[in-house]
Amino acid sequence: MPAIATAAPATSVPPPVETVTVKVNGRTVVVPKTMPDWQGKPQLTTMLQAARLGGVEIPHYCYHDKLPVVGNCRMCLVEFGTPVMNSATRKPVLNEDGTPKIARSVLPYEPGTPRGAITCATPISPGMEIYADSPATKQMREAVLEFLLINHPLDCPICDQAGECKLQEYSVQHGQATSEFVETKVHKPKAVDLGPRIMLDDERCILCTRCIRFTKDIAGDDALGIVNRGSYNSVAAYPGRKFDNNYSLNTVDICPVGALTSKDFRFKMRVWFLKETRSLCTSCGTGCNIVIGSREDTIHRFEPRDNAAVNSSWMCDSGRLNYKWIGRPDRLRDVGVRGERSTWSAALRELHAALAQAPMGSVAIIAGARQTTEELYLLKRLAERFGAATDSVPRTGAADGFLVAADRNCNTQGARLTGIWSGTMGAQIPRIAEGIRTGKVRTLLVFGEDVTRYGIGEELLASLETLVVSDILPSATTRAAHYLLPGCAAAEKRGTFVNVKGRLQKFLKAVEAPGDARPEWEFLSDLVEGGVSRKVPATLEGVFNQMVREIPAFSGLEWARIGDTGAAVPL
């Protein structure tokens, strides 16, 4: 190993961040000279970013943190000032009180009129003053809003965006109550069937081009554009082509107005009735962060939630729309014992007794890698007690190079880290089947899988002494169960998943499960509690905190300290 030069510091201390001092609404703010742009590359800090760091959010439409800057909406125009410099000495000119003399921005051809800068694209300079609420700034905003509204249909009462519409919000916060407009409005296409999942109302569109930039620069499907010219500009797909990529619904999220609406959601629910719950998408191993919009116990939509380490601000359409099964009428609602409806207490009591009889080595567990990490941990504890073989069912598809992972289980890594499977996932299943066939395995616990599709057919299941099945929807396996324990969708419980990249993320409960269905971790606690001497905590937090003490990969984590964006764990 070469000797380290003594002059150089042995440890890498990050260089001090170069800063710039500006004023935002009169308050001095020190901000980094550069900040990440939409691609994360460092660029000169913009006025908008600096204002944000100073606690002032400047209203904007076309600007989006994750999209290229275009500066077309002009909503973020702000009056500003810069220090007057002595042209000879290049030093700031001072006022009598010693403060730097500031020149307010004015039109070059009309020095009495303030000039705005678009804060989204204008870099700050030392000593710059940003007047985010000066009369001139307010007037510019009022004017832009008036322009945006003159040809807008003003159909908020029938618009799905109402309640989360930036045009509404800014009009209230920054607009004026009336307009002088007395002309005939421009009419544009309405109810345009843009693709299988999206409707477009061009009259509501403010032409911010967020959707166009998203699909071009993020989704990589340059499918949208603007047709016609001037005031007749309209967002469109090529005639006859469908805007149907698997990320199309993100455009609905980022559309600041009601121009793009989700066919799945439109006209179904007013957004202000929705309860928002932070959760995770379970459709693949990426673990996109989502917000579940629900009213009473019905889920109305999934929307992506920002997480730079996972999904940025996006999610795929297939994951987003994969919620309808949660409310299916044939959901498993009842606890069943040998085909008869039972109660949790009776079933668990009987099950304890049955398991108590099971000799070592006669039990096997197949735990779906869509169960929560806590549930998998409890199942593993149960397995240890019987020396049971455990495994999960692999589920793969094509990765799309963006958010959809090849691994279609949402907790493959959780299952591995908890010891449910090792080596090759699913490799134990044929052995378990063989064990059943030879009579060595007499008791099988199946959580969240229809094992009849994976080599343990109905005949084999029928030969078991005890078949314990927990699931959400009926299947050949649930029909064969001696003990049927109805479980919960992720939206109906709390827990964590570990994604394909080793990010442990927690999710919260949005809706109640139907009937007697219970979160699996709850009754698993009971089962483990009944069988082992160690106390199992009665709360999810407790289970989690116990789990992290036992699993090295999770060491140091604590339920309360896992933020909304999760924590990295070594895989």
Partner: protein
């Protein structure tokens, strides 16, 4: 010189007085001028040969008239050593010459051409592009058309020189789509130039390679805006780019450093090379050097294009003098002048401007200058609150309705707004609709203020200068001819009341609340 200048102003005042007295009495008018000052006349640098009988756009004719000699000389020129011992390459030296010549862009903004070149990022390692802006489309302007159609080789020579000076290997001529003949002539001229080794690989054996291609627009005024033009040349909608960060000198065509110069500007580059910067700067007036081609149209007896020394001819002379517009139509009085293309602010007959002039003691003193006596140059018109823009003078006499004229222009801007940014997209059509209503019997007495309100919310708020271009005609017409706008609205309102249809729902203010 200063006293001389005062004398000139005095004589101009006298001239103005004469016109006022005599209306359209051309003879007296000319005589009075002849007796007072030197005859204002054309000085043809660019158009020296263009209109000579028998002069054609082919290279043979151009060569016969000394064409490409300047290029040959320039490419062989050695570098230059400055007094301080610093050595300049021939290209650097020539770039300096263009700057010291004082040449200002002839496309509209009047920005120093040499300074524009000096902004070019020469250290990026990326290719540098040059684009000739031949998208002549500012209403009232028809000067580039003359060069393109009559003397394309002059432009090519200017371009090759400019490209050579700026290490450009690939250049384009962006010609407006409505000049199909111009595009054909240019293509032929470029082929001829290639054949004679003025273009292509190893130009004149110097090892310098340059290719120039013709690129046709397709009917969009906004392509005259340099970043809109660049987008259009990239095969996109001509949406101007935000600046920062997309300054063409740094992030232009294909995000490479790019120079965009007007046809006339590039021709001047050839003349600067031919005559030297000092000689060029002697033409015209200080800070307004050289000649420029003025396009004169509207209500004059003799519309046309005139190449004059910048600042040596007044607006009044352009309109009334025998050598230029030859006055108004019989019996007509001057009403208004649009001095620099339709985007420039209108000047009203009889307006007097206070301009700063150097007095006898060298101090700047304010001098009252009547509109017609404004020297036709960049600075004087700017001081008068307008601009010489693309050099297009549109004259309107007292038979004209300013409301109708503005409605015509507003329709142009509504049609030409690219629609990218909010104020222009929505405002340009809004103004056009308002003016359409005002010119079609739906006027209101508040319409003058209404139009001003819209225009004020456009200017200075847009991505490109189209915002100003659309707003300035409205702001200036309405301000300077307020009574006329007011009267038109009031007359309509009165007529409606009389007809009992005052409750036209279309005319009620729209409320968002």
């Amino acid at each position: 010189m200063d006293s001389n200048h005062d004398k000139q102003i005095q004589s101009l005042l006298c001239y103005r007085y004469t016109i006022g007295q005599c209306g359209t009495g051309e003879k007296i008018e000319r005589k009075s001028i002849e007796s007072s000052i030197a005859m204002p006349q054309e000085l043809k640098l660019i158009l020296k040969h263009a209109d000579e009988p028998g002069y054609g756009p082919d290279i043979g004719c151009y060569l016969k008239h000394g064409g490409y000699e300047t290029l040959k000389k320039a490419l062989k020129a050695p570098g230059r050593e400055l007094p301080d011992g610093k050595k300049l390459s021939a290209q650097e030296a020539f770039r300096g010459d263009v700057r010291t010549s004082g040449l200002r862009g002839r496309g509209g903004a009047g920005f120093s051409a040499g300074l524009k070149w000096s902004f070019v990022d020469r250290s990026s390692g990326k290719p540098i592009y040059l684009i000739c802006n031949a998208d002549e489309s500012e209403p009232g302007t028809f000067k580039d058309r003359q060069i393109l159609h009559k003397d394309p080789h002059q432009l090519i020579e200017g371009m090759v020189l400019s490209c050579w000076a700026n290490d450009v290997k690939l250049a384009y001529i962006y010609i407006r789509g409505e000049f199909p003949e111009g595009a054909r002539l240019l293509n032929r001229a470029l082929a001829e130039a290639r054949e004679k080794e003025f273009l292509g690989k190893n130009i004149l054996g110097t090892g310098y390679d340059l290719e120039i291609w013709v690129h046709r627009g397709a009917g969009a005024y906004i392509c005259g805006e340099e970043t809109g033009l660049i987008e259009s040349l990239e095969g996109k909608r001509a949406y101007p780019r935000i600046k920062p960060p997309y300054f063409p000198a740094v992030l232009g065509l294909y995000l490479c450093p790019t120079i965009v110069n007007n046809v006339e500007t590039l021709c001047h580059v050839k003349h600067i090379a031919a005559m030297g910067p000092a000689e060029f700067a002697r033409l015209g007036t200080p800070n307004n050097t050289g000649t420029r081609i003025v396009s004169l149209s509207g209500d004059v007896q003799h519309p046309g294009y005139f190449e004059v020394e910048v600042g040596k001819v007044t607006i009044g002379e352009l309109i009334f003098h025998e050598n230029f517009g030859r006055g108004l139509k019989p019996g007509r009085q001057l009403k208004a002048v649009i001095p620099g293309g339709s985007s420039s602010k209108v000047l009203k007959a009889g307006e007097v401007f206070s301009l700063k002039r150097k007095g006898a003691d060298g101090q700047m003193i304010p001098v009252d200058v009547p509109m017609l006596d404004l020297p036709y140059d960049f600075d004087s018109l700017q001081s008068a609150g307008t601009m010489s823009g693309s050099g297009a003078v549109i004259v309107m006499d007292d038979s004209r309705s300013m409301v109708d004229a503005l409605a015509n222009l507003a329709e142009f801007y509504a049609h030409e707004s690219c629609g990218q940014c909010t104020p222009c997209r929505e405002g340009a059509l809004w103004m056009a609709k308002g003016l359409h209503r005002l010119t079609h019997g739906g006027g209101r007495k508040e319409d003058a203020a209404y139009l001003t309100h819209i225009a004020q919310n456009i200017q200075g708020r847009t991505i490109c200068a189209f915002g100003e271009a659309a707003a300035w005609p409205v702001l200036s017409f309405v301000e300077k001819f307020w009574e006329e706008f007011q009267a038109r609205g009031e007359a309509d309102a009165a007529a409606r009341t009389e007809a009992g249809s005052g409750a036209n729902s279309n005319l009620k203010p729209y409320s968002y609340a």
